[in-house]
Structures are given as C-alpha cells and as structure tokens.
Amino acid sequence: MPIPAGASRMPVATRVKHAANTALWVMIVLATVALIAFGPRSTHPLPKDRTVVTYWEKWTDFEGVQMRDLIQQFNQTVGAQKGVYVDYVVTTQIDFKTLVAVAGGNPPDLVGLFPHNVASFAARGALEDLTPRLDAAGIGRDMFVPIYQYGCTYHDRMYAVPLTPWSLALYYNKDLFEEFRDALAAAGVDADRAPATLEELAVYCRVMYREDERGNLTMMAFVPGLPETLGWYWHTWPLWYGGEFWDEDRGRVPISSEPFVRGLQWIRDLTDAFGQNRVLRFESGLANFNSPDNPFMTGTVAMVQQGPWFAHMIQEYAPEINYGVAPFPTGDGSPISYNGQDALAIPVGAAHPDEAWIFIQWLYTAKPIHVRSKAREPQFGYDFAYQNGARVPMPALRPVEWLCWNHYKNSPLAEPEPAFLATHPNPAIAVHERLARSSFAKTDPRIPDWTEIHEEFKAAYRDIWGSPVPVRERLKDCQRSVDTLVDLARRRQERYGLEFP
C-alpha cells in the first residue's frame, strides 16, 4: 500500500481530528448493530392456525383505530369460529398500490377504494363481481341507500359494497350571521337561516366580508376553493343547476352545456365582485384544514361545504362555535346533494376471496353489537353517547353502522337502526341523511375513464378560478378535449368487445 505522502509529518491537530472521526464512525456502527439486533420489530404477529385475509385500507388516525377495533371484534368472534383472521394494513396512495399489485398478480384480499376507483377498476376487470355473493347472502339491492348502491355499481352489477358513505351539506357560522344581521336584512335576506339558493348565497357573500386597512380580505362568507386550492368538491357546481355529468342520449360529457356554464359563471361572478387577485390572495392565506386554524373554526370563513365528519373536527378544534347545518344552496332550491362513499371490494386474483367475503357479510348482516373503541376520547365517551344533549348508553349497532357512527358518516342502509340517527355524534346528521336519501341525490358518474375527463375539467376550472379567461370559451375548449378523450376511451373499450361507459 503506498505510504501516504505526509503521514509521518501530520500535525497533532489533524491526528486528533482523525481519531475523533474514527471514534464517531465506530459509535455509529455500534449503534446501528445494536438497533438491528435489539430494536423493536413486529408488533402484530399473525396467527398460524387461521386463514389470513389481508385488508388494505387508507385510514390512519382515529378512523383507522376504530376499524382495527371492529376487525378485532370480528377476529375474536366470527373470525375465530370460521378460522379467519383479517389483517388490517394501512397504506397511502391506495389506488396506485392496488393497481400495481393487481397488475403484478399479487393483490390483497380486501381493499378499501376511493369512490372514483370503482368504475375504472371494475371496467378493467380488476374487481370481483360481488352480485352473486350478495344474492346468496340475502343482501338485496334494496338494502342499501340507492345513491350509495349506485356508487358501487358498474354496468348494473355491484363490484364493491359501500363502507362509510357521506353526503355534503352547508355548515354555517350562526355567530357571524348574527354579526352581519343588519347588513343582511338590508340586502333582503334573513340572518336566521342559511341561504337556500345560489342567488341568495351570492348575496350573503357580497354582504359578509371584512378587509384590513390595505384592502386585503380578512374574512369572506364562502370560498369555493376550500380546504385546498379548488377545494375537494369543486366539480359539483354544475349539479346545482340541474346538470348531469354524463349525457346518456348523446354519449358525451356535456361540459359546455348551460348548467356547467352557469355553475362556473357563479364562481367567476364571486371572484369578480371582489377582484380575482384579492380573492386568490385571501384563499392562499387560509390555514391548514385539519388544525385549530381551520378557516371555519377561526371565523375567517362563514360557510363551508363539508360532509358529516366536519362535526367531529368542530368538536375537536372549536367546540364553542355556534353553527348550523343546511342543505347546500342550489340553483332553484331543490335538495340536490353530492354524495360519495368509501368502497370495500375484493380484487380479482385475491388469495382468499371466500374468507374475505365472510368479513363483508358479517359487516352487513351481523346482529347489532357493542364494540369498545379506544379512539373515542374521554369527552366523547367510551360507553355512552348523547341523545338530544342527554347521556345515554352506547347503542348496539350493526358492524357497518357502528363504523359509520364512529366515523361520523351517514348510514349505508336503507333502513338504519333508529339508535344510529338518535345518538349519532353529529347532531345534524338528519340533514345529511335526508339529502342522501332524496331522489335529488347525485354522485360521480360510473365512467371508467372519469379520472382523465375529470382532470380536463379541473384544468378548465383552475383557469376560470385563477385567471381572467372567459368562462364560456374555456368550457368550449374543454368540451373539445373531453370529447376526444371520450372517443379514445370508447375505442379502447370496444377493442376488448366492451361498451363504453
């Protein structure tokens, strides 16, 4: 080995530094070895004597804990009887991971998908058709709330079951309404109730706002783009004017039709009333959704469009707010609502589909049970619930309803347990339930390539929201690209001998 040029002439300082470095490296190596050898490892050992059903789900936080508790109940009762053990695996980007797993031939036994995944996965043959199993178990179509049942259907067959469904409503801050009572009365609207039509909502917006000395907005009545830029439900605006996402007769997505134009024009009118730049700036300053700084909690925004889980967030971050819940205002006041549900499905190629089905069947057909869940904080009660403000014992609920009850969501059953509604932790659940069960309830269309079309629409919406492009022209451009996408999608399906959508 060549002798280093100046080794024998290295000064003491350098030698000390070298020694220090070596010592640090040695410590790191020892720490690494110690960690590998003695570090914590598996926390949930799997039983060897039962069939293990892998269940991929996206829920972490309290929702995940409750699902785990429910699964534990199953594993200890029916699971033990039938030799089944459901293993709950939490994962992020579940649609991506499921796609890769199914394509690679290694799917889980159960997967909890987003509502928009069902049609595209089903159309591509990735999900098992559950209709025969449902019929055999006596779970008829009429057991589900129609809109949620539709959300899990493709070509009239059910490819998933609704797990935790929801509907959207308007949550409004009564204290802020009170503050602006006179101004609202002067504009001809009543501060004691929420707006019923979009016209009224526009009036509320124009009246209820605050700005600082430099002209920056510090409070607005309603911002469509919440919780993040564009918001979660931006594409629902055409629905309020009676629009549909899929035109059956003409086989196209009518992006440039009147309801769409009116819906997005409403948004443009809102931003124009204040100045697009000012609204953008205000919106960008709105804080994190899941925090005590949520704009609704801090009174920065007076109204939001949210689902029933929002009550949980209010209870957690701002229990002092005096709020009300009403159907979201629509073009003519009819109770049109937007709905969705998490869907539980069995992928094609799963190792244990029959055992997976046992769990699904238990969810829907088991007798009402009591499950003690660790996730409920002391103030929300481990063994009790609230009915009309008074404490009552926790009701027994069917497993799927138990889950929805704890997740602060709607019930997927056409005939919910009376105790579900009476003791639901969201005091305004009746509003959500009425909307979901009405004939005006709407959801995303069951089109396999809806995501791609949706993205085109989103780009148009983004432009309308963030730049001065004229609404009608932009939607016309969008129509052209969407038509191309629909044609391509139709051709692709036809190549497999299938119809589109």
């Binding site: 394509a103 595209s120 960008s284 300053g285 791609e452 780009a459 983004r462 432009d463 730049s467």
Partner: protein
C-alpha cells in the same frame, strides 16, 4: 524477474468480468422491462387486461396531443433555465467553501441539508414559503417594497417558483464539486501563483480545467434530473397549476400510466423522453471533448 505482462488493457473477457455486476443486473432487472415497454408502446394496455397491439395509433395520438406539446415545452424551458443556473450556483458555492473559511463545515451542511429532507417536507415547507399572502418570500419582498405574486396560483409564476426551488437543491452538485476540488493538486496552484496569475486566472486556467470531469458529470446528471422532475411539483402544484404552466413531462407520464391507466401510451411517452435526454447527453458529450481534461491522460 520481470514478467512479460499483458498490455495494460486486457481482453474483452477481463473487461466484461469487471462489469459483470452491472451487466447481470441490467440483463435481469432492466432489459426485460425495457424491452417490454418498447413493445407496449405499440399497444393499448391498461395493466389489468392483456395488451392489444394497435400499431402506430399511439404515435398518431402523440402527434396530435396538445398536452404532450405543452409538457414538452414546459420541461424544456425548465431544464434550460434550471440547469445552467444550478451548475453555476453549485460551482460558486463549492469554490467559496473550498477556500477554508471559518465555519465552513457549518455552511456546507446548511447548503446540503435541503437535499436530505424528505420530499413530503420539502413540498409542505415550500408551499408555505410561496404562500401569496404570508409566505416568507413575499414577506421579504414586501420589506423591499415589492408586491410579491401568488407564486403557486398565478399562471405566470408557477414555473418561476419551480426554478427557485431548484436553486435550493444544489447541495448535491456542490458536494460533488467539492470532492473534485479536493483532488486538484496544490502544486498547480502554487506554480500558477509563482507565475503571477491572478485569482481569476487561477480559477479559469487551473481550477476549472482540473475539475472538468466533475462538471461534465454534473451537467449530464443535471440534464437527466431536470428533465425527470416529478414529485415536488406533483404535490405542490397539482395538475400543473393554472394554465398547466408547471405541468412537467414525468408528471404527465405518471398520470397517463397510473391515474388514467393508459400504459401503452405511457411507454411511448417514456421512450420519447429517453430519446430526447439521450440526444442532449450525446450533444453534451460531443461538446465535452473540447473542454474536459482527464488527468489520467486517456478517456
């Protein structure tokens, strides 16, 4: 005893033996997937049903795809701006930090730290930095009397925000330059000083040529990395923002493949990207012959 040795070269077998780890890995893990993707470029494939051969349909779609043209343009502009900027900046920092200034271990760590942070954190932190109202950048600009733009929601500024972010992540290149600078023999500097060279001349005549191999490496890697930018804009500016001005090639590729389930078309897009990067790299390599010097005296 002087043994009659082989030429310092060696036979092809020796060479292949030495690169066998890469060769085996390439054959097992790369060749088949790449070959498959080449075939799939001419198919319709959604990963869940068997692929259907469609001939040149994907190619025809590509030529008429306005989004393809848009992302190509965006990525080209970004690479064109971010690469030279990043190279010069990294080199500048490396030279500064090579001067044995007090506290340089600290400065080096601070400039390199951004490349260690998980991308989740990068996206979140910079979403705050770029906030139109309360972001740090606009607050700083406000102190200078400038009214900062809505970085992430103004179509004219989304691209600029990505370029600014790219300048934050030059630590990687800087560290490579530092290692290269350490290799420059001090004797050359001393000789140049004795010859009366100024600092600038020493930089141009000694430093840069001596580290030209590392510059070449960083340029090539920079081309590849800037053309493949994906995770941070995907999270921070979803969909490319208004006007799709920050919609980059790999984002479009990922969406086409994993969100829209059009793998055949996605494979074609990947091959186009590969060819473009290859062409640019070949160009850089050709140009490098004039300015890259390897002290080992041969290429």
């Amino acid at each position: 005893m002087i043994r009659r040795t082989r030429h310092a070269g060696g036979t092809t077998w020796t060479g292949l033996a030495w690169i066998s780890p890469w060769l085996i890995g390439f054959t097992c893990f790369t060749l088949v997937p790449v070959g498959l993707s080449a075939y799939l470029s001419f198919c319709q494939f959604n990963a869940l049903r068997p692929p259907v051969f469609t001939g040149t349909e994907n190619l025809r779609t590509l030529l008429h795809d306005p989004l393809f043209a848009k992302v190509l343009w965006n990525t080209a502009i970004y690479a064109l701006v971010a690469l030279p900027l990043g190279t010069v900046l990294a080199l500048f920092y490396a030279i500064l930090l090579n001067m044995r200034l007090p506290g340089q271990v600290l400065w080096r760590a601070m400039i390199f730290l951004p490349t260690l942070v998980p991308l989740v954190a990068v996206a979140m932190v910079w979403q705050w930095m770029f906030n139109g109202r309360f972001g740090l950048i606009n607050q700083a600009l406000a102190h200078l009397g400038i009214d900062g733009p809505n970085w992430l929601s103004d179509p004219n500024w989304t691209m600029a925000s990505m370029v600014v972010l790219s300048m934050w992540a030059v630590g990687h290149a800087m560290v490579v330059y530092l290692a290269g600078l350490q290799e420059v023999p001090r004797a050359l500097y001393e000789a140049a000083e004795l010859d009366g060279a100024t600092a600038t001349q020493r930089l141009m005549m000694v430093t840069l040529p001596m580290i030209s191999p590392t510059i070449f490496y960083n340029v090539i890697v920079g081309i590849i990395v800037s053309w493949q930018i994906f995770v941070v804009p995907y999270v921070m500016i979803p969909g490319g923002g208004p006007g799709r001005n920050a919609y980059f090639y790999t984002m479009y590729l990922y969406d086409t493949a994993f969100v829209n389930h059009r793998f055949g078309y996605a494979c074609l897009l990947s091959w186009v990207q590969l060819v473009i990067i290859l062409a640019l790299t070949a160009l850089a390599a050709r140009v490098s012959r004039t300015w890259v010097h390897y002290r080992g005296a041969e290429r």
